[in-house]
Amino acid sequence: MEITTRSLWTLIHGMGFGALYLMACSGALVELYRRYCSHNPAQPTQRDETFLRVYLAVMAALAWLAVITGSYVVYPWYRAKPPAGTTNLAAFPRSLLLSSPHTSAWHNMGMEWKEYIAWIAPIAMTMAAVVVLQYGRRLKEHPQLRNTVLCFVWASLLAAGVAGFFGAMLNKNAPVEGGDTIHLVQGETK
């Protein structure tokens, strides 16, 4: 069982930071609504508040790590131009996708959308984390503020969802491969 360093970084970016962020989004939405909605008479405890603040701060960090590794580690391998005369485009995913009308839209629409919309997630989640850090339980006194923060968290879920979906489909159609090979498990031949 082997994996290349480029595949490993793609996994860290997508499955590590991106997928974890997507899973955490639903928890953030539920907690933000449940704890701070005006008709909920229960006051969140200090411990609950601290937990949510840390949770949102970790989510913001995950979003930043996902876009930074995506844009500055994985994307340069994806968009690398093949030397003139290259016939095997397997190591050049962007060129491989654009070489066929059956796959070019994965780049022209999928990657072109994913690479930009993904950056909305860290902006929205950093804002949400800072607002919850500043206001805490006092968000109950500002229902419009809380509802607008919730809309931004929904938008970050949409942004991360689009990026995650196209990331998975792009990696299926033209995986980022290459670099050193890491041997994980030695198998047996039969």
Partner: protein, 111 residues
């Protein structure tokens, strides 16, 4: 008892409104710069801050700078103040929606 009183002291909506409007401005800046860099070759080449990543590096760096600058300015102006949040929130959400729409290639191609 004192702790509860201290933690439930009313806080004006200004700082929250500043953070929210700045996030809307940052999202819109991202979408707008994406479209401009796509349509204007000279700006596309200027946005190439880091060659392996291409114009994406400049577009996102500039959008982050605009977001943080807007946040700092609004925070200074609205710190400790109550603002009319209905309009601020509506503007922020419109900017967010436009930012998302502008990053969508089929929409950007129509412009």
């Amino acid at each position: 008892m004192n702790t509860t009183a201290a933690t439930t002291t009313s806080l004006p909506n200004g700082p929250g409104a500043a953070a929210i409007l700045a996030a809307g401005i940052g999202s819109f800046a991202l979408g707008l710069l994406d479209v401009i860099a796509d349509k204007v070759p000279s700006i596309k080449s200027w946005m190439n801050f880091y060659n392996p990543t291409g114009p994406l590096s400049g577009v996102t760096t500039c959008a982050i700078f605009i977001w943080l600058a807007a946040w700092a300015i609004l925070q200074l102006r609205w710190r400790g103040r109550e603002v009319r949040f209905a309009s601020v929130g509506a503007i922020a959400l419109v900017l967010l929606a436009l930012g998302i729409l502008l990053t969508f290639p089929p929409f950007a191609d129509l412009l």
